[in-house]
Symmetry: C2
DNA sequence: CGCCCCGTTGACAAATATCAATATTTGTGG
DNA sequence: CCACAAATATTGATATTTGTCAACGGGGCG
């Protein structure tokens, strides 16, 4: 398959047991085999919690595949406030901008210590040339981001605070859970502050706190010091008030298409918990 | 007028003078020549204003290229309200979902009578196989949508009503203007109601009305019965409170990359008007 | 031990929604 | 061209949601 001579990195060894293979560009690789991407990566990069992978306005000649940790995409306002655009988990592809070489319009910051797999932009082009299907996969991944963001738009634009927070908790819970297939615990580490939740939902940290108090009081969900506990999944889905179709596409991948999952998950979303 | 039964069109002939070539998948075609896509389209489809191209939950075996007219993407709430996710102009590619064959999570409705170029999904795959670069172009287009939507998120999540409305008017003005290169009039037909503006900005039609009154009173912009007039472009950009980088990517295409346009437009956005 | 970040609470202010009545524009059929 | 109906816009009074400000508490970490 691969025609162009890739860099002499020893990535294959890492790539065969990379955590990020559950999703993203490497999701189609055969078990035990290094994914197509392996030959084109240059190195891994570690980012400490609170540090930027890249900042707003910064040009970059590489794209990044999140291997481990949580990061988030953000816009800044003049007064220092921020809007969080997206939480990226392992498998997420970052830094692919609409036009090659332009400065980034958003920044990416690590919530936890994180590791990204660096793919120089030139290598990415060779990868596309050698494996055309990868470009289609990438288009699908970006389209999934777009769908997710459409959901956020509706949440922020048309839902009240309670529903927005509920939807965010549910989304992060489900997306994080999808990374450990088979896991069924309703408690997890969520590396956020209440301020982060506010920045993502268009609310104030103070107001998020009030909403969380309600959700706790109503026995729906608890979030305390970076630990999330889903007390009543069904009611959480209810409060979040989202279209089940949308919910399913949060984690949908090519290959689970058509009817299998639709029938399996649609009845009620209990299945996800 | 004619809706359901699509007529067989001689695609190549149309494609050479298609309006949509200013942007989108066909933007890279050589002048006078039919674009690569031409050989893969099946027909054109006309949609009357107010009709859906496809509805929420609908499966589709085709993607669409907007040729003429305005359409918008929307989510619906249980109570009948809607959130407008995106306004699509000629050149926009619609119906490419994250996973092949799943039901659409959003609907698409025509604001004006519109024409779309229909590309059966199977043909699209053949197109990707025959012209791998098209898949990369598509990824870029979707990434541009994503950027735009990130901008909307920040607008709705962190800006007040005045700024949100200003940003929307500015965006639509600039994007529509980019379709007629060389045009410099500060007045245009904007096929929206104030309700639409509210649905896109997360506001009530009533409140949009009050904001528009202010903008008119302040001599910044007028919007009356589907006609938009920019009175003071500079101040409009100011009120919208937008990062110029972002603004530029509203219309950015591959090929105008690097520094030319950055230097040309950055100083102040007067250039856009 | 003490600091700092984060969470928590209350009182109050501001922004926006809601409801309802009226005006204006557009489109349609004579 | 006119008359009318329907859609859209406009305005005011009031209600609701959320933000702001300020103070205090509590827990982890050096």
């Amino acid at each position: 398959m691969a025609t162009s001579p890739p860099r002499p990195t020893p990535p294959a060894a890492d790539c065969t047991r990379c955590r990020a293979r559950v999703d993203g560009l490497c999701q189609t690789a055969r078990p035990g085999m290094p994914p197509a991407v392996a030959a084109y990566k240059s190195c891994d990069r570690h980012i400490a919690a609170g540090q930027d992978l890249f900042g707003i306005g910064q040009r970059s000649d590489a794209v990044y595949n999140v291997v481990d940790g949580w990061v988030y995409l953000y816009h800044l306002l003049e007064d220092g406030r921020q809007q969080i655009l997206h939480f990226a988990l392992p498998g997420a592809m970052l830094g692919f901008h609409p036009v090659r070489g332009v400065p980034a319009t958003y920044g990416v910051q690590a919530l936890t210590d994180a590791v990204v797999c660096v793919i120089p932009r030139d290598n990415l082009d060779r990868l596309f040339g050698d494996h055309p299907a990868v470009a289609v996969t990438l288009a699908g991944l970006i389209a999934r981001d777009r769908s997710l963001t459409y959901g956020h738009l509706t949440s922020i634009g048309r839902h009240r605070a309670r529903e927005r927070v509920a939807q965010l908790l549910l989304e992060l819970f489900i997306r994080a859970r999808a990374q450990w297939p088979g896991h069924r615990v309703e408690e997890m580490q969520l590396p956020l502050t209440q301020e982060h939740i506010g920045d993502a939902t268009g609310l104030t940290g103070v107001h998020v706190n009030r909403v969380l108090r309600e959700l706790r009081h109503d026995g729906i969900a608890e979030f305390h010091y970076r630990r999330l506990r889903i007390l009543d999944p069904d009611r959480l889905v209810d409060v979040a008030g989202i279209d089940p179709h949308l919910l399913m596409q949060w984690t949908a991948q090519e290959g689970m298409a058509d009817d299998g999952w639709s029938a399996a998950l649609a009845p009620r979303v209990r299945a996800v918990a």
